[in-house]
Symmetry: C2
Subunit: 443 residues, 2 copies
């Protein structure tokens, strides 16, 4: 016989076994429900897109991370890198069928050939909610409120949304004499890497890519130091006066958005932070990242981020359609919760176990399991056979709470013996009363 | 300005807009719930696998349909073709962490570069439930019962599961003098294409691939004509006596499985059909396909199929682990329901619409929407602005049932005017009573 094939997952990819997948799925449902309550409707798009749909949207470094190849029909294709560019394509392609504002949510895996590290995978689930068709503070706020409520619905404590605006970045650069667009973009991309490469690395990159001298680069880095909040910005605007109209408008937008989020009762979860840069090229308005505050997992980076991108849909259409969105990285959040020991694992246990005394009663066991399942209870039928003691052992090892025993006597009287593994109590119960009785033991 | 990029999906791929995605997602949840009630736990695996994990498992023709490529790290990788081979890999790879029997369900897209046709896509969602670790009629029946209950939970009427056994195929071939394994396999692969290429095509393929003469090939095709059921098989066994031990055992297995499915009350949804061949190489025991009986969609082919594959896991491990499973092709089923006009589209409407009189009350509108959302209601806030009449028009066009109006008077009195778009009735309601009142209008 041939040696067995090696059973292995690709680097940066992972299997979600029931222990992790069961709580992950409960989280997905909670996210779907929260998105739906906030007026978003579900959308699903293909994993594969034409390469030209995706290329050139994520900046040079993003493009490098795309999984690209030629399919059997000699088409250049790529696995989606995010859910935002596919949304832009959808709005352009199906414009006639869609009503604006189009509020959609989309929960699906995306693929990036990044260097795997703690909490960072090459395949991960994004949970996005976006509004296409409106550029207003209210649209921005609707999306932020939705995202923050999603975190609440997941029981995530200690998260904070760091809000900024692309024009704050441009405005502050202008005030420092960096006025050429390519230079500004190079600075923003460098600042976005502060967490990854440190202040010295950012300075070096700005010198290299934006051709500033070291002193100017250091001033740029200082201007975007973490912690710079709304008050600092308001002061800068007050000092600069009319010489910084772009910055002034951006700060007014931030104020309006913050006021709306506060009206929704979520002021304490949001803060302005000038250090937020977002590397992706397509953002045009507000931008944000949400970080966990627990020091044990703070280094994992942003768990929910996004922004406004008013130019992206127009790349696929003659019509300009403004849009804003939020994206939750569920797998990173899951990894953090796992690390904090906050993942409920009981979901990966089947609470009811139906023992099978011998093959003569197997059909009846299936019938009785069917009664419980029809009543919404989760039940599995023993498939290992053997003595009753063995079956009880198996049930207990698998984490069952209740075991049903059916012998020929029970079948004759249409009943079953119900054993509560917690209390040890055994009760004979008729088939008709079985679902209610078992349910009462589980609650 | 550059001409816009063409917004297009790849051939054989499709977007699920909310109108279709909302009912699709409700179906996915119903399937998950039914799988869970039947004691299956969720599993998720990567979309990409090592090429060698997948190659050679689906027969020559299946291998051709794989999306294969070299990734950025020069690894040969492939998009998963089904969820069964990944399960086999998982059981082998995580054997120490898993308890047998391992009952898992897995709902995820798979990719096959097939010729697109009605109800057949290159990316489609598979919904699988499998039991690894046991070879018994009860395990077979548990899986069949689960699949049939899934169809019931989806409200699918007029479906029938056609059951067969690989050894019925081998046994009948032996009785007709086709005793060499490669010849047998060639015959089975040809018979599996009856729907696609017709009887004459199957005969031609058998002549070509199994080197039988035309008469013998015609006899093979006749032996596997659709409609041949359990009674015919029992008769064949009775006539053949001990000269067909393989066939005899297979028929006994079918009888045992049928008896168990009948005990679960599902006898009328299942039938033995000797024409079921299943092209995939890895099956070793029972095999089945489920077809819709409505003539309008019957040509779409199987919507739920599977079988027993006791050798597959052993390809990845020194340990042989028997397994059996069922796979529902949700997108084909969805296309069929859509064609039959059975898809509920009301799920793609947000029932509550919150009008915004002017930007002064926008924060209060968000607050009130938050009250409804916290109570579990789906609500969207108007983002278009303009006169109230315009906002009502928008609400009605989007299919809302209830519109909330908030002006400065209402804000002062912490109330809102609730308009039922069905009856036209308007009622002023205080914020505290709002969730209950609106909910009463929606039920």
């Amino acid at each position: 016989m041939a040696a067995p094939l090696q059973a292995q997952t690709l680097k940066g990819f992972r299997d979600y076994l029931p222990e992790t997948m069961a709580p992950r799925q409960a989280m997905i449902r909670a996210i779907e429900d929260t998105f739906a309550r906030h007026g978003f409707l579900p959308l699903q798009t293909p994993a594969l897109e034409y390469e030209e749909t995706l290329m050139g949207k994520y900046g040079e470094e993003g493009d490098k991370l795309l999984y690209r190849f030629e399919d059997n029909g000699q088409r250049r294709v790529a696995l989606r890198y995010d859910l935002t560019v596919p949304l832009a394509r959808v709005v352009a392609q199906h414009r006639a069928e869609l009503q604006l504002p189009f509020r959609r949510y989309h929960i699906a895996p995306v693929w990036r050939a990044e260097k795997p590290q703690r909490g960072r995978f090459r395949e991960f689930l994004q949970c996005d909610a976006d509004i296409a068709g409106v550029n207003s503070p209210l649209a921005d706020a609707e999306v932020l409120v939705t995202g923050l409520q999603v975190l609440r619905s997941l029981g995530v404590e200690g998260a904070r949304l760091h809000l900024n605006h692309r024009d704050v970045l441009f405005g502050l650069l202008e005030l420092r004499g960096v006025t050429e667009k390519p230079q500004q973009i190079a600075c923003i991309r460098a600042v976005d890497k502060l967490d990854k490469i440190g202040a010295a690395g950012v300075v070096a990159e700005i010198v290299r890519e934006a051709q500033l001298d070291t002193q100017a680069a250091e001033q740029v880095v200082a201007a975007f130091a973490p912690g710079g909040g709304l008050k600092d910005l308001q002061q800068t605007v007050a000092v600069a006066g009319d010489s910084a109209p772009v910055l002034k408008q951006a700060v007014e937008r931030l104020e309006a958005v913050l006021a709306l989020v506060a009206a929704a009762g979520l002021a304490d979860l949001i803060t302005v932070d000038v250090s937020i840069a977002r590397g992706l090229d397509y953002y045009t308005g507000i931008i944000y990242e949400t970080r966990l505050t627990d020091p044990k997992v703070a280094s994992m980076g942003a768990v929910m981020s996004g922004g406004r991108y008013d130019g992206l849909i127009g790349l696929f259409s003659k019509e300009q359609v403004p849009a804003v969105g939020i994206s939750l990285g569920l797998d990173r959040l899951l990894a953090a919760l796992q690390e904090l020991g906050l993942l409920p694992t009981h979901l990966a246990r089947v609470p009811v176990y139906v023992a099978v005394m011998d093959s003569q009663v197997a059909g009846h066991a299936l019938h009785v399991a069917g009664l419980l399942r029809a009543a919404g209870l989760r039940a599995e039928v023993d498939l290992g056979g053997g003595k009753l003691g063995k079956q009880f052992e198996r049930a207990s090892k698998r984490g069952a709470q209740v075991v049903l025993v059916l012998g020929s006597d029970e079948v004759a009287s249409q009943s079953a013996v119900v054993k509560d593994l917690g209390s040890g109590q055994q009760t004979p119960v008729s088939w008709t009363e079985l679902p209610a009785f078992v349910a009462s033991l589980l609650t």
